[in-house]
Homo-oligomer: 220 residues x 2
DNA sequence: GATTCAATCATACGTTCGTATGAATACGCG
DNA sequence: CGCGTATTCATACGAACGTATGATTGAATC
């Protein structure tokens, strides 16, 4: 059996000067097609066509279709998690940093609108995602939940369940991006347009702030 | 070509006394498998096996695989939309009814946990859902957005964008149900358990209420 | 009991799927 | 240049797919 080139090519992935390698093109095509049509809806032939590569390229570089899927997931999630971590470790109160996380998500999904669907499609099926995905998601969850705990010591966030609070916060950018196509279908409001996205960002910031802030009338 | 039996059987669908018909079993199996594995991930053979029906049954009763998918979507969405409409037309302030909608979603998803994934999987792909689905979703959107407008005249809801507010409200039950399997994978918190669901419901009610209520300190 | 028609059945067809294989080509290094 | 490794290529294979077909069954109607 042919050994997957994944590891070797990943090590060589630091090369940013060469022409776009087949491997990179495959990941880009995979992100696009998996995100749009799902795993089962995207054939290897469609992916290699999109990437301008040979039919055998996926098997050669990633071992299998699922191998490519894992790589796509990892390369899509890692920069997002990095943004979240960065926003969470900036200055200001815990609430400030929560809101910065919301902003970071919106900004990231502006250039990667397929990411929420890509991540949720398999997971909603109850299947086990690749281990690296579990690790990344767990990290994000704990970052935000930790911020909630911190917010209760510095008084910037009201009391509540840390994990559920994290879900409520993350749900805003993720859900809005997820339903954008359907929303555009049922009405004249297209969240994929920049102006509408700005509105959505400001609305989400206000909504999350109101949902997290301690109530002055209860804490006089 | 064989004509689909959809219409005729739908008319006969008022019969609730007979043994579970093949048609009903197919929709149940379709809801389960489409919801869990997606449209492309569910083969007609898997569906007819699950339903205890013959391979040809889907083609006979629904014309095609996509015909069954439309029927599953419609039969899953209609009761949900009815619950929302009912909650929206009850008594109390607009905010009260918004919160009742959140509760209605949670209750509905408790018995139909696959519904969010079922609805969002295709739509996130940018495909046009069946017309009946578009109509139902539009109705729900306008019901909640109308409630938001009403809430500003009765003073129970703060100002904001009606559609975005509707999204923020709906996102809580939908997103929590959607990510439940992944959340259980990355941590010890399983939103599919009744106790956790109760927590999530109460958290969501508090979060949405805080996000919608006018701030007393701004409106003295 | 014969007729009729909706429903179910076993089976077949052509296509597309993921993957495997071996030849052909490109490339770095002595 | 020549050799060895890495990559790309055309092609093949068996399996699974959605759908079509025609025979068979079941129950109601006369």
């Amino acid at each position: 059996m042919i050994e997957s080139r994944t590891t070797a090519s990943a090590l060589a992935g630091a090369d940013t000067t060469s022409a776009p390698s087949t491997r990179v093109q495959l990941i880009a095509a995979g992100r696009k097609l998996f995100g749009q049509r799902g795993f089962d809806g995207s054939s290897i032939r469609a992916i290699t066509d999109e990437a301008g590569a040979n039919l055998g390229a996926v098997t050669y570089h990633f071992g299998s279709k699922r191998g490519l899927y894992s790589a796509v997931l990892e390369e899509g999630l890692r920069p997002m998690a990095a943004r979240v971590t960065e926003a969470a470790s900036a200055g200001g109160t815990a609430l400030d940093r929560m809101l910065r996380i919301v902003r970071a998500y919106f900004e990231h999904f502006e250039t990667h609108p397929d990411l929420p669907h890509l991540l949720l499609q398999e997971v909603a099926a109850g299947k086990q995602p690749p281990p690296v995905v579990i690790e990344i998601v767990r990290g994000v969850k704990e970052t935000i939940a930790g911020l909630h705990v911190e917010g209760q010591t510095d008084g910037s966030v009201r009391e509540g369940h840390p994990v559920l609070t994290a879900l409520s916060v993350v749900s805003q950018p993720v859900f809005m991006t997820l339903v954008a196509p359907m929303l555009a279908t049922v009405g004249p409001f297209d969240l994929r347009e920049p102006a509408a996205r700005r509105l959505a960002l400001e609305h989400s910031l206000a909504f999350v702030r109101a949902g997290l802030e301690p109530r002055e009338d209860l804490q006089p």
